[in-house]
């Protein structure tokens, strides 16, 4: 009895400590990101030539370079999930229900989440390794000693680039997964899969859903790049810190992306 109580107590304690740690982490990360934006906004002009180049580089690396993978994944989701939902719609619901279901599940949820997971794997890890390595080699301090604000130079361009890329890639993903899936199933002659279905899906998208989709993806981008920069800058002296912080950046990005997704699903 006493043992069971102790086990329950220690489990609740562990859960409580975990929640407090996560809350503190989120506060710390939020302050880090807000500071970066504050430093960026204080410079008067939105970008200068040096930082603008960093935004371009981030958009190219995170957005353009990831586009073929996103197109492939979009088509794969279109083939597997969109087609499954269309087949399911044939048996359980009307054409309208199928359209709404596709927009909600594939267009909104899956496209945002899968794009975020691709970005975490590609760009989040790359940013953490990149900044961590620069910190280890003294490159970051070398720039600080030239009066360069590293928040403005390294962090904000990466966050802005990742947010733009996440949003645009998620739009691509949603479009390819939905319309590609319906198109392919129409080729196979499925009843609910037709050009008419595509039109209906487009009608099912309301402005509020678009706003939430945009907000969600921008928040995902900010979270992924912000978390990667935060952990990249936590690499101090030892090369062993580099893989440790990269791994933490990836895990925490995943946790936060799913948390944001859940919260937005509840409030929207």
């Amino acid at each position: 009895m006493a043992e069971a109580q102790a086990a329950r107590g220690s489990f609740i304690g562990w859960l409580g400590r975990g929640l407090i740690d996560l809350s503190m982490y989120i506060v710390d990360l939020t302050v880090f990101v807000l500071r970066a934006f504050r430093d960026w906004a204080r410079r008067g002009r939105i970008f200068n030539r040096a930082t603008l180049q960093n935004v371009y580089s981030q958009v190219i690396f995170t957005g353009l370079d990831a586009l073929p993978l996103i197109i492939f994944l979009g088509l794969a989701v279109g083939l597997s999930i969109t087609s499954q939902l269309l087949k399911l719609g044939q048996t359980i619901g009307s054409e309208q229900d199928v359209g709404a279901l596709l927009v909600d599940i594939v267009g909104d949820e899956l496209s945002s989440l899968l794009t975020a997971i691709v970005l975490i794997g590609r760009s989040g890890s790359a940013i953490a390794v990149d900044l961590g390595g620069m910190n280890l080699r003294g490159e970051v301090e070398g720039l600080e000693l030239l009066g360069i604000n590293v928040n403005e130079f390294f962090v904000t361009p990466r966050i802005i680039g990742a947010a733009i890329s996440q949003f645009v890639l998620a739009v691509f993903f949603a479009g390819i997964a939905l319309f590609g899936g319906v198109f392919i199933m129409a080729l196979f002659g499925l009843e609910h899969a037709s050009l008419h279905q595509m039109k209906r899906m487009a009608e099912d998208v309301d402005p509020q859903a678009i706003a939430v989709f945009a907000l969600k993806n921008i928040l995902f981008g900010i979270t992924i790049a912000g978390t990667a920069c935060y952990h990249g800058f936590r690499v101090r002296r030892s090369p062993t810190e580099l893989p440790q912080q990269t791994q933490r950046a990836i895990v925490m990005s995943l946790v936060l992306v799913f948390l944001i997704d859940g919260l937005l699903a509840v409030v929207s």
């Binding site: 040096a50 620069m134 003294g138 490159e139 070398g142 600080e144 000693l145 030239l146 360069i148």
Partner: protein, 249 residues
């Protein structure tokens, strides 16, 4: 005697060690424009820690530093960044930004601080590289350059900001004798032609012997300041004697 106000004034300066504990021996120093000051001593004496505190890079445990007329202890983040344009600091190993080539490394700080158009900044960079006798290629990433070339690029990117003081931590690190000679000539020109106050933490006593206007000797048991090589080499302090004898051996 130079009547101009010193660029750097340190009073009873005691920097911190890496573990946070303060160094025991306070240092007082004044540096004028055009002077070459060398910080020497055996390992563990605190050359880097004192240099960083003198440059207002790290906050000291005690004492004060007045850099270009400003009390280093009272600078906020913006003032500190503004000061960095006038008091350049080259870290040991002269780390450059690894993701851009040599020329962009040189022009980047000036572009960031909006010190001119792209063409003006590029022209100024070429002029500086010529002044420094930069022998390498400018279109290569730093990883493909040797240490001597990286050092010259690191100095050039500092000079793009027109500093009045330059602090260099172990600049002769990992270069051969011929490169050391060329680097020594560069430091002389920085102080002589450009009128910079140059402070160097170094083990290169050949350079110190020939060019130092002031020598700051830093030892775990004692710290002191000398007006050049003659009084330094004639010092009767046992720490100085041991250090010089060890170097000669």
């Amino acid at each position: 005697m130079n009547a101009a106000a010193p660029l750097l004034q340190a009073r009873d300066l005691r920097p911190r060690r890496e573990d946070g504990a303060p160094f025991e021996h306070p240092l007082s120093l004044e540096v004028q424009a055009g002077e070459t000051v060398c910080l020497v001593g055996p390992n563990g004496g605190g050359k880097t820690a004192y240099l960083r505190a003198l440059a207002a890079v790290d906050k000291p445990a005690g004492g004060s530093v007045k850099l270009l007329g400003k009390d280093a202890g009272r600078l906020d983040a913006d003032a500190w960044r503004a000061l960095r344009l006038r008091a350049a600091y080259v870290l040991e190993g002269a780390p450059l930004l690894s993701v851009v080539n040599g020329l962009i490394n040189v022009t980047l700080p000036a572009m960031y601080h909006r010190l001119g158009t792209a063409a003006q900044v590029a022209a100024a960079a070429q002029e500086l590289l010529k002044f420094l006798d930069y022998p390498g290629r400018q279109d290569l990433l730093p990883a493909y350059l040797n240490q001597h070339e990286r050092l010259l690029l690191a100095i050039a990117r500092c000079l793009m900001l027109s500093p009045e003081l330059m602090f260099l931590d172990e600049p002769f690190h990992m270069t051969d004798n011929a490169c050391r000679e060329r680097e020594a000539a560069v430091f002389r020109r920085l102080a002589g032609d450009k009128g910079l106050a140059v402070l160097i933490a170094t083990h290169n006593l050949g350079f110190v012997r020939r060019y130092a206007d002031k020598i700051v000797f830093l030892h775990a048991q004692w710290a002191g300041c000398f007006d050049g090589w003659k009084p330094f080499s004639a010092s009767a302090r046992s720490e100085v004697r041991d250090f010089l004898d060890t170097d000669q051996r």
